[in-house]
Protein backbone atom coordinates (compact mmCIF):
# COMPACT_ATOMS: atom_id res chain seq x y z
CA UNK A 1 0.00 0.00 0.00
CA UNK A 2 1.43 3.37 -1.03
CA UNK A 3 0.30 6.93 -0.42
CA UNK A 4 -1.92 7.00 -3.51
CA UNK A 5 -3.62 3.76 -2.53
CA UNK A 6 -4.09 5.10 0.99
CA UNK A 7 -5.78 8.21 -0.47
CA UNK A 8 -8.02 6.11 -2.70
CA UNK A 9 -9.02 3.80 0.14
CA UNK A 10 -9.85 6.77 2.34
CA UNK A 11 -12.04 8.27 -0.39
CA UNK A 12 -13.67 4.97 -1.30
CA UNK A 13 -14.61 4.09 2.27
CA UNK A 14 -15.74 7.62 3.14
CA UNK A 15 -18.17 8.15 0.31
CA UNK A 16 -20.45 10.45 2.27
CA UNK A 17 -17.59 12.80 3.03
CA UNK A 18 -16.46 12.60 -0.60
CA UNK A 19 -19.93 13.56 -1.80
CA UNK A 20 -19.78 16.57 0.52
CA UNK A 21 -16.40 17.52 -1.00
CA UNK A 22 -17.61 16.82 -4.50
CA UNK A 23 -20.67 18.99 -4.63
CA UNK A 24 -18.74 22.27 -4.65
CA UNK A 25 -16.58 21.14 -7.55
CA UNK A 26 -19.49 19.65 -9.46
CA UNK A 27 -21.60 22.79 -9.07
CA UNK A 28 -18.68 24.99 -10.12
CA UNK A 29 -17.69 22.95 -13.16
CA UNK A 30 -21.30 22.30 -14.18
CA UNK A 31 -22.09 26.01 -14.08
CA UNK A 32 -19.01 26.99 -16.04
CA UNK A 33 -19.51 24.25 -18.65
CA UNK A 34 -23.20 25.11 -19.00
CA UNK A 35 -22.50 28.82 -19.36
CA UNK A 36 -19.61 28.33 -21.72
CA UNK A 37 -21.45 25.79 -23.85
CA UNK A 38 -24.59 27.88 -24.10
CA UNK A 39 -22.69 31.10 -24.77
CA UNK A 40 -20.36 29.51 -27.30
CA UNK A 41 -23.25 27.84 -29.10
CA UNK A 42 -25.28 31.05 -29.06
CA UNK A 43 -22.31 32.99 -30.35
CA UNK A 44 -21.97 30.53 -33.18
CA UNK A 45 -25.69 30.51 -33.84
CA UNK A 46 -25.89 34.30 -33.81
CA UNK A 47 -22.82 34.51 -35.95
CA UNK A 48 -24.33 32.08 -38.44
CA UNK A 49 -27.56 34.05 -38.45
CA UNK A 50 -25.68 37.27 -39.11
CA UNK A 51 -23.73 35.58 -41.82
CA UNK A 52 -26.92 34.41 -43.42
CA UNK A 53 -28.84 37.65 -42.97
CA UNK A 54 -27.92 39.82 -45.87
CA UNK A 55 -24.68 40.05 -47.73
CA UNK A 56 -21.46 40.91 -46.03
CA UNK A 57 -19.62 41.50 -49.29
CA UNK A 58 -20.51 43.41 -52.46
CA UNK A 59 -18.65 42.80 -55.68
CA UNK A 60 -18.97 45.43 -58.39
CA UNK A 61 -16.99 46.03 -61.56
CA UNK A 62 -14.03 48.42 -61.37
CA UNK A 63 -15.15 51.63 -63.04
CA UNK A 64 -14.51 55.32 -62.95
CA UNK A 65 -17.90 56.22 -64.42
CA UNK A 66 -20.75 57.90 -62.57
CA UNK A 67 -22.50 55.81 -60.01
CA UNK A 68 -26.00 55.00 -58.94
CA UNK A 69 -27.27 53.47 -55.79
CA UNK A 70 -29.00 50.18 -55.16
CA UNK A 71 -29.92 48.78 -51.78
CA UNK A 72 -27.63 51.18 -49.97
CA UNK A 73 -24.74 50.13 -52.16
CA UNK A 74 -23.15 52.50 -54.57
CA UNK A 75 -22.64 51.01 -57.99
CA UNK A 76 -21.37 52.62 -61.10
CA UNK A 77 -23.52 53.21 -64.10
CA UNK A 78 -25.67 56.18 -64.81
CA UNK A 79 -25.92 57.42 -68.33
CA UNK A 80 -22.59 56.10 -69.49
CA UNK A 81 -22.12 52.54 -70.68
CA UNK A 82 -21.95 50.30 -67.66
CA UNK A 83 -18.95 48.10 -67.13
CA UNK A 84 -20.18 44.69 -66.09
CA UNK A 85 -19.00 41.44 -64.61
CA UNK A 86 -19.40 38.17 -66.40
CA UNK A 87 -21.18 35.00 -65.27
CA UNK A 88 -17.91 33.08 -64.82
CA UNK A 89 -17.13 35.34 -61.85
CA UNK A 90 -19.39 33.07 -59.81
CA UNK A 91 -17.19 30.02 -60.49
CA UNK A 92 -14.08 32.01 -59.71
CA UNK A 93 -15.54 33.12 -56.39
CA UNK A 94 -16.21 29.50 -55.49
CA UNK A 95 -12.59 28.63 -56.29
CA UNK A 96 -11.13 30.66 -53.41
CA UNK A 97 -9.29 28.93 -50.57
CA UNK A 98 -12.06 29.68 -48.05
CA UNK A 99 -14.87 28.66 -50.38
CA UNK A 100 -16.42 26.51 -47.63
CA UNK A 101 -17.14 29.75 -45.77
CA UNK A 102 -19.29 31.09 -48.57
CA UNK A 103 -22.95 30.62 -47.73
CA UNK A 104 -24.80 32.45 -50.48
CA UNK A 105 -23.80 34.06 -53.77
CA UNK A 106 -26.50 36.34 -55.14
CA UNK A 107 -25.63 37.69 -58.63
CA UNK A 108 -27.61 40.63 -60.01
CA UNK A 109 -28.10 42.50 -63.23
CA UNK A 110 -29.57 45.99 -63.03
CA UNK A 111 -31.32 47.85 -65.79
CA UNK A 112 -34.42 49.74 -66.77
CA UNK A 113 -37.37 48.26 -68.61
CA UNK A 114 -40.29 49.90 -70.43
CA UNK A 115 -43.37 48.07 -69.24
CA UNK A 116 -47.04 48.54 -70.02
CA UNK A 117 -47.29 50.36 -66.70
CA UNK A 118 -44.31 52.61 -67.23
CA UNK A 119 -40.54 52.61 -66.80
CA UNK A 120 -39.23 50.30 -64.06
CA UNK A 121 -35.93 49.60 -62.33
CA UNK A 122 -35.39 45.95 -63.17
CA UNK A 123 -33.24 43.68 -61.05
CA UNK A 124 -32.40 40.27 -62.42
CA UNK A 125 -31.75 37.84 -59.59
CA UNK A 126 -31.32 34.19 -58.74
CA UNK A 127 -34.53 33.96 -56.70
CA UNK A 128 -33.39 30.96 -54.62
CA UNK A 129 -30.19 32.75 -53.54
CA UNK A 130 -32.02 36.03 -53.05
CA UNK A 131 -34.59 34.57 -50.71
CA UNK A 132 -31.87 32.74 -48.71
CA UNK A 133 -29.95 35.98 -48.29
CA UNK A 134 -32.83 38.35 -47.62
CA UNK A 135 -34.63 36.67 -44.78
CA UNK A 136 -36.44 39.90 -43.98
CA UNK A 137 -38.36 39.92 -47.25
CA UNK A 138 -42.05 39.53 -46.60
CA UNK A 139 -43.98 38.52 -49.63
CA UNK A 140 -47.63 38.87 -50.45
CA UNK A 141 -48.38 36.09 -52.92
CA UNK A 142 -45.84 33.41 -53.68
CA UNK A 143 -42.25 33.08 -54.69
CA UNK A 144 -41.68 33.02 -58.45
CA UNK A 145 -41.79 29.49 -59.79
CA UNK A 146 -41.59 29.60 -63.54
CA UNK A 147 -39.34 31.78 -65.67
CA UNK A 148 -41.87 34.53 -66.45
CA UNK A 149 -42.98 35.08 -62.86
CA UNK A 150 -41.74 38.23 -61.16
CA UNK A 151 -42.09 40.05 -57.87
CA UNK A 152 -42.50 43.76 -57.28
CA UNK A 153 -41.37 46.14 -54.59
CA UNK A 154 -44.25 47.88 -52.84
CA UNK A 155 -43.66 51.25 -54.62
CA UNK A 156 -43.16 49.60 -57.97
CA UNK A 157 -46.46 47.79 -57.47
CA UNK A 158 -48.29 51.10 -56.86
CA UNK A 159 -46.57 53.04 -59.64
CA UNK A 160 -47.03 50.30 -62.22
CA UNK A 161 -50.54 49.58 -60.95
CA UNK A 162 -49.90 45.87 -60.66
CA UNK A 163 -51.13 43.39 -58.09
CA UNK A 164 -50.49 39.72 -57.43
CA UNK A 165 -51.58 37.85 -60.55
CA UNK A 166 -51.34 40.94 -62.78
CA UNK A 167 -49.59 40.71 -66.11
CA UNK A 168 -46.69 42.96 -67.07
CA UNK A 169 -45.99 43.31 -70.74
CA UNK A 170 -42.52 44.16 -71.93
CA UNK A 171 -42.40 44.21 -75.70
CA UNK A 172 -43.32 40.70 -76.78
CA UNK A 173 -42.75 39.27 -73.36
CA UNK A 174 -45.55 38.77 -70.88
CA UNK A 175 -44.67 38.47 -67.21
CA UNK A 176 -46.89 37.51 -64.27
CA UNK A 177 -46.62 39.13 -60.82
CA UNK A 178 -46.42 36.20 -58.37
CA UNK A 179 -45.77 38.32 -55.29
CA UNK A 180 -45.37 41.82 -53.91
CA UNK A 181 -42.81 42.68 -51.28
CA UNK A 182 -43.86 44.44 -48.10
CA UNK A 183 -42.56 48.00 -47.80
CA UNK A 184 -38.99 48.18 -46.51
CA UNK A 185 -38.19 51.88 -46.89
CA UNK A 186 -35.30 51.17 -49.26
CA UNK A 187 -34.55 51.08 -52.99
CA UNK A 188 -35.86 47.54 -52.97
CA UNK A 189 -39.39 49.04 -52.79
CA UNK A 190 -38.91 50.50 -56.28
CA UNK A 191 -37.65 47.43 -58.07
CA UNK A 192 -39.09 44.84 -60.37
CA UNK A 193 -37.42 41.50 -59.65
CA UNK A 194 -37.20 38.94 -62.34
CA UNK A 195 -35.16 35.90 -63.21
CA UNK A 196 -31.58 36.80 -64.03
CA UNK A 197 -31.39 34.92 -67.37
CA UNK A 198 -34.67 36.51 -68.45
CA UNK A 199 -33.47 40.05 -67.70
CA UNK A 200 -30.12 39.30 -69.37
CA UNK A 201 -32.10 38.29 -72.46
CA UNK A 202 -34.46 41.27 -72.29
CA UNK A 203 -31.52 43.67 -71.98
CA UNK A 204 -29.42 41.75 -74.49
CA UNK A 205 -26.78 41.26 -71.83
CA UNK A 206 -26.43 37.49 -71.74
CA UNK A 207 -23.65 36.47 -69.35
CA UNK A 208 -23.41 39.93 -67.76
CA UNK A 209 -23.77 40.91 -64.13
CA UNK A 210 -23.94 44.35 -62.49
CA UNK A 211 -23.03 43.21 -59.02
CA UNK A 212 -22.69 40.16 -56.84
CA UNK A 213 -23.71 40.04 -53.22
CA UNK A 214 -21.91 37.40 -51.17
CA UNK A 215 -22.77 36.13 -47.73
CA UNK A 216 -19.83 34.42 -46.04
CA UNK A 217 -19.85 32.44 -42.80
CA UNK A 218 -17.05 34.29 -41.15
CA UNK A 219 -17.19 32.91 -37.63
CA UNK A 220 -13.99 31.00 -38.14
CA UNK A 221 -12.29 33.34 -40.57
CA UNK A 222 -11.75 37.07 -40.83
CA UNK A 223 -13.88 38.55 -43.58
CA UNK A 224 -10.90 40.58 -44.75
CA UNK A 225 -9.21 37.33 -45.80
CA UNK A 226 -12.15 36.32 -47.94
CA UNK A 227 -12.35 39.80 -49.48
CA UNK A 228 -8.69 39.55 -50.37
CA UNK A 229 -9.06 36.05 -51.84
CA UNK A 230 -12.04 37.11 -54.01
CA UNK A 231 -10.28 40.28 -55.09
CA UNK A 232 -7.34 38.17 -56.27
CA UNK A 233 -9.67 35.95 -58.28
CA UNK A 234 -11.62 38.91 -59.74
CA UNK A 235 -9.05 41.56 -60.69
CA UNK A 236 -11.68 43.30 -62.82
CA UNK A 237 -13.91 43.83 -59.78
CA UNK A 238 -13.98 45.82 -56.63
CA UNK A 239 -14.77 43.73 -53.57
CA UNK A 240 -16.13 45.60 -50.57
CA UNK A 241 -16.88 44.18 -47.14
CA UNK A 242 -20.09 45.45 -45.60
CA UNK A 243 -18.48 46.02 -42.25
CA UNK A 244 -21.58 47.16 -40.43
CA UNK A 245 -22.96 43.62 -40.29
CA UNK A 246 -19.63 42.21 -39.24
CA UNK A 247 -19.13 44.88 -36.61
CA UNK A 248 -22.66 44.44 -35.26
CA UNK A 249 -22.11 40.71 -34.99
CA UNK A 250 -18.77 41.26 -33.29
CA UNK A 251 -20.29 43.61 -30.71
CA UNK A 252 -23.00 41.12 -29.75
CA UNK A 253 -20.59 38.19 -29.71
CA UNK A 254 -18.16 40.19 -27.57
CA UNK A 255 -20.93 41.10 -25.11
CA UNK A 256 -21.89 37.46 -24.76
CA UNK A 257 -18.28 36.47 -24.23
CA UNK A 258 -17.73 39.18 -21.62
CA UNK A 259 -20.85 38.09 -19.73
CA UNK A 260 -19.79 34.45 -19.82
CA UNK A 261 -16.26 35.30 -18.65
CA UNK A 262 -17.53 37.42 -15.76
CA UNK A 263 -20.00 34.81 -14.57
CA UNK A 264 -17.40 32.06 -15.00
CA UNK A 265 -14.87 33.94 -12.87
CA UNK A 266 -17.46 34.58 -10.13
CA UNK A 267 -18.59 30.95 -10.14
CA UNK A 268 -14.99 29.74 -10.16
CA UNK A 269 -14.19 31.92 -7.15
CA UNK A 270 -17.28 30.81 -5.23
CA UNK A 271 -16.55 27.19 -6.15
CA UNK A 272 -12.97 27.62 -4.96
CA UNK A 273 -14.19 28.98 -1.60
CA UNK A 274 -16.70 26.15 -1.19
CA UNK A 275 -14.10 23.51 -2.03
CA UNK A 276 -11.47 25.10 0.24
CA UNK A 277 -13.99 25.23 3.07
CA UNK A 278 -15.01 21.63 2.49
CA UNK A 279 -11.37 20.47 2.42
CA UNK A 280 -10.65 22.44 5.58
CA UNK A 281 -13.60 20.86 7.37
CA UNK A 282 -12.48 17.44 6.15
CA UNK A 283 -8.91 17.96 7.36
CA UNK A 284 -10.06 19.29 10.74
CA UNK A 285 -12.18 16.18 11.09
CA UNK A 286 -9.09 14.06 10.46
CA UNK A 287 -6.91 15.53 13.20
CA UNK A 288 -6.87 12.21 15.04
CA UNK A 289 -6.02 10.29 11.89
CA UNK A 290 -3.19 12.70 11.04
CA UNK A 291 -1.88 12.23 14.59
CA UNK A 292 -1.89 8.45 14.13
CA UNK A 293 -0.10 8.72 10.79
CA UNK A 294 2.53 11.07 12.24
CA UNK A 295 3.10 8.74 15.21
CA UNK A 296 3.57 5.85 12.78
CA UNK A 297 6.42 7.72 11.11
CA UNK A 298 4.67 9.67 8.34
CA UNK A 299 6.53 12.87 7.54
CA UNK A 300 4.73 16.15 6.93
CA UNK A 301 5.24 15.73 3.20
CA UNK A 302 3.60 12.28 3.32
CA UNK A 303 0.52 13.70 5.05
CA UNK A 304 0.47 16.57 2.52
CA UNK A 305 0.73 14.16 -0.42
CA UNK A 306 -2.14 12.03 0.91
CA UNK A 307 -4.41 15.08 1.23
CA UNK A 308 -3.42 16.64 -2.12
CA UNK A 309 -3.86 13.29 -3.91
CA UNK A 310 -7.33 13.03 -2.42
CA UNK A 311 -8.01 16.58 -3.63
CA UNK A 312 -6.84 15.69 -7.14
CA UNK A 313 -8.89 12.49 -7.30
CA UNK A 314 -12.02 14.24 -6.02
CA UNK A 315 -11.43 17.12 -8.45
CA UNK A 316 -11.00 14.75 -11.40
CA UNK A 317 -14.22 13.01 -10.53
CA UNK A 318 -15.94 16.36 -9.97
CA UNK A 319 -14.57 17.66 -13.27
CA UNK A 320 -15.86 14.68 -15.26
CA UNK A 321 -19.26 14.77 -13.56
CA UNK A 322 -19.45 18.55 -13.91
CA UNK A 323 -18.63 18.38 -17.60
CA UNK A 324 -21.27 15.71 -18.28
CA UNK A 325 -23.93 17.48 -16.21
CA UNK A 326 -22.98 20.89 -17.63
CA UNK A 327 -23.31 19.73 -21.22
CA UNK A 328 -26.61 17.96 -20.54
CA UNK A 329 -27.90 21.04 -18.72
CA UNK A 330 -26.80 23.23 -21.63
CA UNK A 331 -28.66 20.96 -24.06
CA UNK A 332 -31.82 21.45 -22.01
CA UNK A 333 -31.39 25.13 -21.13
CA UNK A 334 -29.96 26.60 -24.32
CA UNK A 335 -33.20 26.63 -26.35
CA UNK A 336 -35.06 28.13 -23.36
CA UNK A 337 -32.50 30.88 -22.82
CA UNK A 338 -31.67 31.64 -26.43
CA UNK A 339 -35.26 31.33 -27.61
CA UNK A 340 -33.96 29.61 -30.71
CA UNK A 341 -32.68 26.25 -31.86
CA UNK A 342 -29.16 25.89 -30.53
CA UNK A 343 -27.04 22.88 -31.39
CA UNK A 344 -25.08 21.69 -28.33
CA UNK A 345 -22.37 19.18 -29.14
CA UNK A 346 -20.19 17.03 -26.87
CA UNK A 347 -16.87 18.84 -26.97
CA UNK A 348 -13.99 16.64 -25.76
CA UNK A 349 -11.65 19.63 -25.68
CA UNK A 350 -14.02 21.34 -23.26
CA UNK A 351 -14.07 18.09 -21.27
CA UNK A 352 -10.28 18.13 -20.94
CA UNK A 353 -10.28 21.82 -20.04
CA UNK A 354 -12.95 21.10 -17.39
CA UNK A 355 -10.77 18.39 -15.88
CA UNK A 356 -7.68 20.60 -15.85
CA UNK A 357 -9.67 23.46 -14.35
CA UNK A 358 -11.18 21.20 -11.67
CA UNK A 359 -7.77 19.77 -10.76
CA UNK A 360 -6.22 23.25 -10.53
CA UNK A 361 -9.10 24.35 -8.27
CA UNK A 362 -8.70 21.13 -6.25
CA UNK A 363 -4.95 21.63 -5.80
CA UNK A 364 -5.27 25.31 -4.87
CA UNK A 365 -8.21 24.58 -2.57
CA UNK A 366 -6.21 21.92 -0.73
CA UNK A 367 -3.19 24.19 -0.15
CA UNK A 368 -4.56 25.86 3.01
CA UNK A 369 -5.90 22.59 4.50
CA UNK A 370 -2.58 20.90 3.73
CA UNK A 371 -0.68 23.66 5.51
CA UNK A 372 -3.02 23.28 8.48
CA UNK A 373 -2.50 19.53 8.50
CA UNK A 374 1.27 19.55 8.24
CA UNK A 375 1.68 22.36 10.75
CA UNK A 376 -0.38 20.41 13.24
CA UNK A 377 1.81 19.88 16.29
CA UNK A 378 2.36 16.14 16.90
CA UNK A 379 1.63 16.86 20.58
CA UNK A 380 -1.80 18.22 19.56
CA UNK A 381 -2.27 15.16 17.42
CA UNK A 382 -1.38 13.01 20.38
CA UNK A 383 -3.95 14.79 22.52
CA UNK A 384 -6.52 14.29 19.76
CA UNK A 385 -5.74 10.57 19.81
Amino acid sequence: MGLFELSLKHLWRNKNRVIFLLWGIIIGVTTIVTLYTITFSMEQEISDKFDQIGSNMIIVPNSESLSLNYSGVTIQGGTQKMVELSDDALDRIMSIKNSENIAVIAPKLLGTLETDGGKALAVGVDFAAEFRMKKWWKLEGKKPGVNNEVILGSNASSILGKKVGSKIVIGDTELVVSGILAEMGSEEDDALYLNLPLLQKLLNKEGSLSLIEVSALCYTCPIEDIVMQIANKLPEAKVTAVLEAVEARKVIVDKFSALARTVAIIVLFIGFLIVTNSFLAAVNGRKKEIGILRSLGFKRIHVAVVIVLEGIVVSLFGGITGYLLGTLLAKWLAPLIAQMEVLIAWDWKLGIISLILAVIVGIFASIIPVFRAVKQDPADSMRAI
Binding site: M1, G2, L3, L6, K9, H10, W12, R13, N14, K288, E289, I292, L293, R294, S295, L296, G297, F298, K299, R300, I301, H302, P378, A379, S381, M382, I385
Partner: protein
Protein backbone atom coordinates in the same frame (compact mmCIF):
# COMPACT_ATOMS: atom_id res chain seq x y z
CA UNK B 1 23.52 -0.64 29.32
CA UNK B 2 20.99 2.20 29.24
CA UNK B 3 19.00 2.16 26.02
CA UNK B 4 16.53 4.92 26.87
CA UNK B 5 17.50 7.83 29.11
CA UNK B 6 14.96 10.41 30.25
CA UNK B 7 17.15 13.11 31.74
CA UNK B 8 15.64 15.77 34.04
CA UNK B 9 12.62 16.13 31.84
CA UNK B 10 9.95 18.71 32.67
CA UNK B 11 6.90 19.56 30.65
CA UNK B 12 4.85 22.68 31.23
CA UNK B 13 1.58 23.64 29.57
CA UNK B 14 0.14 27.11 29.48
CA UNK B 15 -3.59 26.68 29.95
CA UNK B 16 -4.57 29.99 31.52
CA UNK B 17 -2.12 29.38 34.32
CA UNK B 18 1.01 27.27 34.03
CA UNK B 19 0.54 23.55 34.50
CA UNK B 20 3.56 21.34 35.16
CA UNK B 21 2.66 17.93 33.70
CA UNK B 22 6.14 16.49 34.37
CA UNK B 23 8.58 17.79 36.92
CA UNK B 24 12.27 16.94 36.58
CA UNK B 25 11.73 13.31 35.65
CA UNK B 26 14.74 11.04 35.22
CA UNK B 27 14.37 7.45 34.07
CA UNK B 28 16.87 4.95 32.71
CA UNK B 29 15.61 1.97 30.74
CA UNK B 30 17.67 -0.93 29.50
CA UNK B 31 17.11 -2.77 26.26
CA UNK B 32 14.65 -5.66 26.65
CA UNK B 33 12.87 -4.25 29.70
CA UNK B 34 9.08 -4.54 30.12
CA UNK B 35 8.00 -1.53 32.18
CA UNK B 36 4.58 -0.54 33.46
CA UNK B 37 3.98 3.16 34.05
CA UNK B 38 1.26 3.63 36.64
CA UNK B 39 -0.34 6.53 38.34
CA UNK B 40 -3.65 8.27 38.94
CA UNK B 41 -5.39 10.25 36.18
CA UNK B 42 -3.61 13.52 35.41
CA UNK B 43 -0.39 12.35 37.00
CA UNK B 44 1.63 12.79 33.78
CA UNK B 45 1.75 9.19 32.48
CA UNK B 46 0.46 10.00 29.02
CA UNK B 47 2.70 13.08 28.79
CA UNK B 48 5.71 10.91 29.62
CA UNK B 49 4.61 8.39 27.00
CA UNK B 50 4.19 11.13 24.37
CA UNK B 51 7.71 12.39 25.15
CA UNK B 52 9.08 8.84 24.93
CA UNK B 53 7.20 8.57 21.63
CA UNK B 54 9.07 11.62 20.25
CA UNK B 55 5.77 13.36 19.68
CA UNK B 56 5.93 15.96 22.43
CA UNK B 57 9.19 17.78 23.13
CA UNK B 58 9.97 18.42 26.80
CA UNK B 59 10.17 21.98 28.09
CA UNK B 60 13.38 21.07 29.91
CA UNK B 61 15.73 18.09 29.89
CA UNK B 62 16.38 15.64 27.11
CA UNK B 63 15.60 12.19 25.84
CA UNK B 64 18.40 9.93 24.67
CA UNK B 65 17.48 6.76 22.84
CA UNK B 66 20.23 4.50 21.55
CA UNK B 67 22.67 7.38 22.13
CA UNK B 68 20.59 9.75 20.00
CA UNK B 69 19.36 13.01 21.51
CA UNK B 70 16.09 12.61 19.69
CA UNK B 71 14.57 16.07 20.17
CA UNK B 72 17.68 17.60 18.64
CA UNK B 73 16.86 15.82 15.40
CA UNK B 74 15.14 17.88 12.71
CA UNK B 75 11.39 17.45 12.60
CA UNK B 76 11.42 15.15 9.56
CA UNK B 77 14.29 13.09 11.05
CA UNK B 78 12.15 12.61 14.13
CA UNK B 79 9.50 11.02 11.86
CA UNK B 80 12.17 8.66 10.47
CA UNK B 81 13.24 7.91 14.03
CA UNK B 82 9.69 7.07 15.10
CA UNK B 83 9.29 4.75 12.15
CA UNK B 84 12.58 2.98 12.83
CA UNK B 85 12.57 2.77 16.62
CA UNK B 86 9.02 3.02 17.92
CA UNK B 87 5.81 1.07 17.73
CA UNK B 88 2.66 2.68 19.15
CA UNK B 89 -0.36 0.98 20.64
CA UNK B 90 -2.96 3.58 21.50
CA UNK B 91 -5.77 3.58 23.99
CA UNK B 92 -8.71 1.88 22.22
CA UNK B 93 -6.17 0.95 19.55
CA UNK B 94 -7.10 3.69 17.06
CA UNK B 95 -7.17 1.59 13.95
CA UNK B 96 -8.10 3.59 10.86
CA UNK B 97 -11.72 2.64 10.29
CA UNK B 98 -11.50 2.73 6.50
CA UNK B 99 -8.63 0.22 6.29
CA UNK B 100 -8.87 -3.53 6.71
CA UNK B 101 -6.82 -5.35 9.35
CA UNK B 102 -3.98 -6.08 6.95
CA UNK B 103 -4.05 -2.53 5.54
CA UNK B 104 -3.88 -1.08 9.06
CA UNK B 105 -0.86 -3.26 9.75
CA UNK B 106 0.76 -2.11 6.48
CA UNK B 107 0.39 1.58 7.46
CA UNK B 108 3.88 2.02 9.01
CA UNK B 109 5.31 0.43 5.84
CA UNK B 110 3.44 2.82 3.52
CA UNK B 111 6.41 5.13 3.07
CA UNK B 112 9.04 2.37 3.23
CA UNK B 113 11.06 1.79 0.07
CA UNK B 114 9.94 -1.80 -0.44
CA UNK B 115 7.53 -3.37 -2.89
CA UNK B 116 3.82 -3.64 -2.24
CA UNK B 117 4.16 -7.42 -2.30
CA UNK B 118 6.81 -7.34 0.41
CA UNK B 119 4.71 -4.98 2.53
CA UNK B 120 1.75 -7.35 2.21
CA UNK B 121 3.84 -10.38 3.06
CA UNK B 122 5.28 -8.66 6.15
CA UNK B 123 1.81 -7.59 7.35
CA UNK B 124 0.30 -11.05 6.74
CA UNK B 125 3.20 -12.72 8.54
CA UNK B 126 2.78 -10.54 11.64
CA UNK B 127 -0.99 -11.02 11.69
CA UNK B 128 -0.53 -14.80 11.37
CA UNK B 129 1.93 -14.68 14.27
CA UNK B 130 -0.78 -13.26 16.52
CA UNK B 131 -3.49 -15.57 15.22
CA UNK B 132 -5.43 -13.27 12.89
CA UNK B 133 -4.60 -14.86 9.56
CA UNK B 134 -8.29 -15.57 8.92
CA UNK B 135 -9.36 -11.95 9.47
CA UNK B 136 -6.93 -10.07 7.24
CA UNK B 137 -9.59 -8.32 5.21
CA UNK B 138 -12.01 -7.40 7.97
CA UNK B 139 -12.61 -3.74 8.74
CA UNK B 140 -12.04 -2.70 12.38
CA UNK B 141 -15.75 -2.58 13.17
CA UNK B 142 -16.01 -6.20 12.05
CA UNK B 143 -13.45 -7.25 14.69
CA UNK B 144 -13.88 -7.81 18.43
CA UNK B 145 -12.08 -5.57 20.92
CA UNK B 146 -9.41 -8.21 21.49
CA UNK B 147 -8.91 -8.69 17.77
CA UNK B 148 -8.60 -4.93 17.29
CA UNK B 149 -5.98 -4.93 20.04
CA UNK B 150 -4.04 -7.64 18.29
CA UNK B 151 -4.20 -5.75 14.97
CA UNK B 152 -2.89 -2.68 16.81
CA UNK B 153 -0.02 -4.77 18.19
CA UNK B 154 0.70 -6.15 14.73
CA UNK B 155 0.77 -2.60 13.37
CA UNK B 156 3.19 -1.59 16.13
CA UNK B 157 5.65 -4.40 15.43
CA UNK B 158 5.40 -4.86 11.66
CA UNK B 159 8.51 -2.79 10.96
CA UNK B 160 10.41 -4.48 13.82
CA UNK B 161 10.93 -1.46 16.10
CA UNK B 162 13.02 -2.14 19.21
CA UNK B 163 10.66 -0.12 21.44
CA UNK B 164 6.91 -0.59 21.88
CA UNK B 165 4.87 2.12 23.62
CA UNK B 166 1.41 1.10 24.77
CA UNK B 167 -1.14 3.44 26.29
CA UNK B 168 -3.65 1.47 28.38
CA UNK B 169 -3.82 -1.41 25.92
CA UNK B 170 -6.13 -3.46 28.15
CA UNK B 171 -8.22 -0.57 29.40
CA UNK B 172 -11.16 -1.21 27.07
CA UNK B 173 -11.02 -5.01 27.19
CA UNK B 174 -12.54 -7.65 29.48
CA UNK B 175 -10.18 -9.47 31.84
CA UNK B 176 -9.70 -12.56 29.67
CA UNK B 177 -9.02 -10.59 26.47
CA UNK B 178 -6.79 -8.17 28.36
CA UNK B 179 -4.83 -11.16 29.62
CA UNK B 180 -4.37 -12.40 26.04
CA UNK B 181 -2.96 -9.03 25.03
CA UNK B 182 -0.53 -9.05 27.95
CA UNK B 183 0.58 -12.56 26.94
CA UNK B 184 1.40 -11.22 23.47
CA UNK B 185 3.40 -8.40 25.06
CA UNK B 186 5.32 -10.92 27.14
CA UNK B 187 6.13 -12.90 24.00
CA UNK B 188 7.27 -9.75 22.21
CA UNK B 189 9.40 -8.83 25.22
CA UNK B 190 10.98 -12.29 25.15
CA UNK B 191 11.74 -11.66 21.46
CA UNK B 192 13.80 -8.63 22.55
CA UNK B 193 11.37 -5.71 22.28
CA UNK B 194 11.60 -3.07 24.99
CA UNK B 195 8.04 -2.40 26.15
CA UNK B 196 6.73 0.62 28.04
CA UNK B 197 3.10 0.30 28.96
CA UNK B 198 0.89 2.84 30.67
CA UNK B 199 -1.71 0.95 32.66
CA UNK B 200 -4.23 1.33 35.45
CA UNK B 201 -4.68 -2.38 35.80
CA UNK B 202 -2.74 -3.78 38.79
CA UNK B 203 -3.20 -7.33 37.47
CA UNK B 204 -0.85 -6.43 34.62
CA UNK B 205 1.95 -5.66 37.03
CA UNK B 206 2.73 -9.32 37.77
CA UNK B 207 3.85 -9.71 34.11
CA UNK B 208 6.18 -6.72 33.89
CA UNK B 209 9.81 -6.52 34.97
CA UNK B 210 9.57 -3.04 36.50
CA UNK B 211 6.90 -0.59 37.52
CA UNK B 212 7.31 3.18 37.42
CA UNK B 213 4.88 5.10 39.61
CA UNK B 214 4.10 8.70 38.73
CA UNK B 215 2.26 11.17 40.90
CA UNK B 216 1.90 14.89 40.27
CA UNK B 217 4.42 14.78 37.43
CA UNK B 218 7.12 13.08 39.49
CA UNK B 219 8.39 9.53 39.62
CA UNK B 220 7.77 8.35 43.13
CA UNK B 221 9.47 4.97 43.21
Amino acid sequence: MTFIAVNNVSKKYEIGSELKALDNVTLKINQGEFIAIMGPSGSGKSTLLSILGVLNPPTEGNLIIDDIDVFKLANEKQADFRREYLGFIFQQFKLLPYLTAVENVMLPLTVAQISKKEKLQMAEKVLAKIGLESKLHRLPHQLSGGEQGRVAIARAIVNQPPIILADEPTGSLDTKTGQEIIEIFKALNEDGHTILMVTHNKENLEHVKRTVLIRDGKIVN
